[in-house]
Amino acid sequence: MSALICEVVYRGIFQKNLAARIVRGIVLSARKSERWGIAFGRYGDSPQRNGIPAKDFAIVADTKEELEQNMARYEPKHVDVTICVDDTLSKGVESWAWYGLQPINRLTEPNGTLLMTSLQPFEALLKDIHKKDAPYKLSLIRAKASFSGLWVYKEDHTEVRILGALAKIAPSFLTLDAVAEAIGEMEWGSELKVASARKAYDRIETRDVKITEGNTEVPYAFEMPKWWEMREGVTIPAIPIGKPKEGGQGYVPERNPYFKKFSTRTMRPVVDFDTCVKCNLCWIACPDSVFDVMPDGTFDANMEACCGCGVCEAVCPVENCITMVNESAFDDNASQWEMWRKDKTAYKTWLGAKIGDKKTTVRSHGFRFRGQYDEELKQDLDSGGIEITAGIPGENADRKTVPGVGGGR
């Protein structure tokens, strides 16, 4: 008797369909060896919000009884494999529900596997992933985060690459052939996708993580109040109006003491305080009151509150004054303005490095210009990727070809 429990940590809305495909794929692949299974989402994450970390689960077991034993809870307490399909989630998971900040590897069993899609080196990821009191394995598939919307889906093969990698991690539940067979039967399946799964099986990179390794930060947590401690009437106090900063020169609004947005964003604004014209537009337009007013009249983006929407960058009238940069380029949530005040030259150098790198300033979701997706696909192909075709699943599957694997279906 045995069971395989997997969680998929994903970005709400942007990766909802991706996560659903992965957990369904796990169950249907395991079914090829007569296993029973269930695929479900953490209900507290729904209704999902753009980018907010959410979870799906897949449980497969030898018997129905063992499956039920593992299903009889809101969400699994331990998982054999944690699958994370956006490496900026390595900094932790704060669900739309009230769980505080949870390390990405919190549920991963001792000697279990954390499987991520990432282009970062292991060491860079381990700066963000919290330390765990048990050893585990970190496995990587070299891919950038695949973001779509609720009604559109980017057919970049991330789901099948995860399934192929899982065949390597848990071969007793999902053989590569079973995964290939299951993919072939999906409404979105194709021989090309089977080929992608097989490549991921070969290309997965794995490294042991010791208990001494990882981010030593204590994750943000709070205690939920008892029923008699809560205000009555389903009321909460308004967020107080905030405090003046440094003798009334600046202003810092109060913020929600329980819900932070550290893990919600995939990008964050980087501000050039030297070119800021103090027009207030970022401060006005920000839907989350992120911008603290500094004593010199510039605006510091507070990372406790920023969800990375990018509205500030869009409204800023000064070129390169506010630039959205991928969250993976940062190791902390420190104040940029304080850094700038301390050493303006050093800040300029830091800023230049952050906003000068095309890889980190490309939008993690959405596209900046028409045809960007086609360009990205071409770049993937030039760097050794396989040709894939965009489109509605099934619509043009017959015309998809992969060199060396054979013709279309």
Partner: protein
């Protein structure tokens, strides 16, 4: 509305010949309500008309808002109450149902709105006679729920209602149920107290820390899921439990200030002390029962009545004391609960459950009678009592519910 007599010079009360609905409007004037919303449906519309007249006559200064339907009607007073207004609202039958979405959220928001439910059958076919099922739909949701029997009780209970609902320990909505036609449309001699007495009895509505005001910035009803909801329900539960003591206080104080009113707030006991057979019911059904009891007493049959005033909170402990000494109990429901245990009405099953832990459990017979406003006849009551005597003799009730007054 005519002043009947001025003969009681000693009393400060004014005597009026008014219906149950008009009596409620008298109380609303005395309680100086701030906001009232209206949407017509029979029989509730009688109170709405009576309040409109009070305002038109300059006897009451209040916002009178005619809503576009019951849903808006209840939403408007809900919001008015959160900013500190003393509010009144009401409806009947399917109108009350149409407001259901607002009705379910009012208790957790701790909004002490007072409503009149003029009991009406749930359509179709457009029936407007009395049945209690309309008001009873909120029985599990945190509404305080009581039934009244006379115009006097309508007036008194409305004052008590504000006192209880607006008590900070409670802060729950309260529905006063009045039988359509028999109470809402029947005029009876009613004592109306002077405003000075009411002012001594009824403090101002103080929403305190829950007041929605720029000086007390709060958010009301942010979305809350599984991390919070059970705690919110538990708070509601506690408020309902606290209401028990607050209701007893409110009645005791009412007697002190106005010099009338029952000692037992929860139910009226009519010749029940020594009764072998006790009938139980709610609302104006008491009238034919009392008459029948007097006739039976004359023939030596020891029969009594327990007329429930309060359904939520349900006075289960007191009822056990009042009922467990009888030889048989007959519960007459003016409502139905299809498919429920024994296919009984709602009150019968509440009383069965209350008696479950009692040391002595008399046989309990359940009856359904008077639906859709059908007259409850003396013959119906006599029939019920005869069956109760048979059960008392055998010591066992049949596991059935008997429909009285139905053509069969």
């Amino acid at each position: 509305m005519a002043t009947v007599t001025g003969t009681k010079a000693a009393s400060e009360d004014k005597e009026l010949l008014i219906s149950g609905s008009e009596a409620v409007a008298e109380s609303l004037t005395l309680a100086d309500i701030d906001v009232v919303t209206a949407y017509p449906i029979r029989p509730y519309d009688t109170v709405m008309q009576a309040i409109a007249k009070k305002i038109a006559n300059g006897q009451l200064v209040a916002e009178y808002i005619v809503a576009e339907g019951e849903h808006s009607q209840f939403e408007i007073v809900k919001h008015a109450s959160t900013v500190g207004a003393r509010v009144f609202c009401g409806s009947s039958g399917v109108g009350w149902m149409y407001a259901m979405e607002c009705l379910v959220v009012t208790p957790p928001l701790r909004v002490p709105m007072v409503c009149l439910v003029g009991n009406r059958a749930l359509d179709d076919p457009g029936a407007f006679g009395v049945e209690h099922n309309d008001a009873l739909v909120v029985r599990d949701l945190g509404w305080l729920l009581c039934w009244i029997d006379t115009s006097q009780e309508a007036l008194d209970t409305t004052l008590i209602a504000y006192r209880v609902a607006e008590d900070r320990r409670v802060f729950l909505p309260l529905a006063i149920s009045a039988d359509g036609a028999f109470l809402t449309h029947s005029q009876a001699i009613t004592m109306v107290p002077p405003k000075e007495k009411v002012d001594r009895y009824l403090p101002r509505y103080d929403r305190g820390d829950l007041l929605l005001h720029p000086d007390n910035p709060i958010t009301v009803a942010p979305q809350a899921n599984e991390d919070w909801v059970i705690e919110i329900r538990r708070q509601n539960d506690e408020a309902m439990k606290r209401a028990v003591g607050v209701i007893e206080e409110a009645y005791a104080d009412f007697r002190r200030v106005f010099g009338r009113g029952p000692e037992n707030p929860w139910f009226e006991e009519y010749m029940a002390d020594d009764a072998e057979i006790i009938l139980v019911g709610m609302g104006t059904i008491s009238l034919p029962i009392k008459v029948a009891i007097r006739e039976m007493r004359a023939k030596g049959k020891k029969v009594g009545l327990v007329r429930l005033r309060w359904f939520r909170p349900f006075p289960f402990e007191r009822l056990v004391k009042a009922l467990s000494g009888a030889k048989a109990i007959g519960v007459i429901d003016r409502d139905y609960s299809f498919g429920s245990p024994f296919h009984s009405g709602v009150v019968a099953n509440e009383i069965r459950a209350s008696l479950y832990n009692a040391d002595t459990r008399p046989p309990l017979l359940s009856f359904i009678c008077g639906l859709g406003g059908r007259e409850v006849t003396l013959e119906d009551v006599n029939k019920a009592v005869d069956m109760c005597y048979a059960a008392a003799k055998s010591g066992k009730a049949d596991a059935k519910t008997h429909w009285l007054g139905v053509r069969e």
